[in-house]
């Protein structure tokens, strides 16, 4: 192991708030969010770039935060599930997941909602195929996905003109 690892100073925005922190280079973005910023809504599922429970948006794009180092998010704009609600109002995607029973245990839900958000910010009227493709990187072991697809569709309708 190399000795005297130099820690790195990073600045980034998370959910609109600016942070300056010093991190060890090997610290993963998901662990930085959970441990350093106490934003535990982003989950660690498989930890092997498969399940998507750790999905966050980086500069508007969905990424698996277990497959990025925190130092790589230097200068970036990160959105986690905690940043979805505004003025104590749930985001339309959050509402739709609740209304449509788009979750059971809820572990995968933060990641799924952020994948859905990337989709809906690029495509206001996605087809079922496009929705399926958008969440192909998010594993849910409870729902069988049907209600998740319903939720995304309802969210799409509710977000139109919003």
């Amino acid at each position: 192991m190399p000795d005297s690892i130099e820690n790195i100073s990073i600045q980034l925005k998370v959910n609109g708030k600016s942070y300056s922190r010093i991190v060890e280079p090997r610290k993963l973005l998901v662990e930085f969010l959970r441990e350093d910023l106490d934003l535990t809504g982003t989950h660690v599922g498989c930890d092997t770039t498969y399940c998507g429970a750790c999905t966050v948006l980086m500069n508007g794009k969905a990424v698996k935060s277990c497959t990025m180092f925190a130092v790589q998010a230097d200068g970036a704009d990160i959105l986690t599930v905690e940043g979805l609600e505004k003025n104590a109002e749930l985001h339309p995607i959050q509402k739709a997941f609740g209304d449509c029973y788009g979750l059971q245990c809820g572990y995968c839900t933060p990641g799924l909602m952020l994948s859905a958000l990337q989709l809906l910010s690029q495509n206001q009227q996605p087809s079922e195929k496009e929705m399926r493709k958008a969440i192909a990187g998010n594993t849910c072991r409870c729902t069988g996905y049907q209600n998740i697809l319903k939720a995304i569709q309802v969210a799409a309708q509710n977000m139109k003109g919003a």
Binding site: E6, V71, Q118, A136
Partner: protein, 297 residues
């Protein structure tokens, strides 16, 4: 999971990155999209002492068309290629970019990283070996162009010297009346394919003027199925010629049995993929729009 501790570096230019590689020595790795390297580091299959991050270098992500070539910046993300005009023009590029893993991985993973990793299950090397592709390699002593077939030496082994990096990927635009298709079979989106087939045809009316067929995940490197190509060249694409090419492709495959399937299974599978890919490539060469997505079990 934490990787072993490493020193983190950033370069301001590709040239500087090459110089830093020369300085840091063998125990340094480049970080591009990181979608293979970071998982490998977390599992401690790879434990570089130095990680050199290329992501902060300006101007490394681009898709340009000039003089009959498409030029890809080394850090061009799969998602950018998926959405590009170039991919609209050359459908096999779209098949490849849009089919790699999932949205999240495509947002990060890069074409240069995929080629430099030379994973036998990677998609780009298989697809690009059916097109005329040059990999530009930048080192401390200058830049050189290496034909893709010579660039990929073996599993996880390329022609890159330790102080060299991929600086550009140059793909020749296929001639008119060409069509291609890339088809992979996967258990689910985020995993590597069990087998894949890339087919690029150039037609002269009903007759196949030229064919390039590459097989993925069934050898240590992408395999050009030369006998399968010969079975199509100069022939009309009929059930008979397609079956002949399919059989030749099966024989060209050299699969390893693993948790994804036995060698026999993969051989049969890759034949079926070649057959379908030829049929779609031929339709596209006629100007048909054929939407294609990978097959999931």
């Amino acid at each position: 999971m934490y990787p072993r501790a490493f020193h983190y570096h950033r370069a301001n230019s590709l040239k500087e990155a090459a110089a830093m590689l020369a300085d840091l020595g063998d125990d340094a790795k480049l970080l591009a999209g990181g979608q293979s390297l970071i998982p490998l580091m977390k599992l401690r299959f790879a434990s570089p002492a130095h990680l050199l991050d290329l992501n902060f270098i300006f101007g490394t992500s681009y898709i340009k068309e000039d003089e009959g070539n498409i030029r890809f910046g080394p850090l061009t993300r799969h998602a950018e290629i998926e959405a590009s005009a170039a991919a609209g023009k050359v459908p096999i590029l779209h098949d490849c970019a849009a089919g790699i893993a999932d949205v999240q991985v495509r947002n990060r993973g890069t074409i240069g990283g995929s080629l430099a990793e030379a994973d036998p299950s990677g998609d780009w090397a298989t697809v690009l070996s059916t097109l005329s592709t040059e990999v530009r390699c930048l080192g401390t002593s200058g830049e050189r162009a290496v034909n893709l077939a010579e660039f990929i030496k073996d599993a996880y082994t390329t022609a890159l010297a330790h102080d060299e990096l991929v600086s550009e990927v140059v793909v020749k635009l296929p001639p008119k009346e060409s069509g291609g298709a890339y088809l992979a079979f996967k258990r689910s989106a985020p995993v590597y394919p069990t087998a894949s087939a890339a087919v690029q045809l150039t037609m002269d009316g009903d007759v196949c003027r030229d064919a390039a067929i590459a097989l993925g995940c069934v050898g240590l490197t992408p395999i050009r199925a030369k006998h399968a190509e010969a079975a199509l060249r100069g022939q009309a694409i009929t059930e008979k010629t397609v079956v002949r090419a399919m059989e030749a492709a099966r024989n060209a495959a050299d699969p390893q049995p693993d948790m994804r399937g036995s060698a026999d299974y993969k051989r049969t599978l890759v034949g079926a993929l070649v057959k379908r890919a030829i049929q779609i490539a031929a339709r596209r060469a006629r100007g048909e729009q054929v939407e294609l997505s990978h097959i999931y079990s």
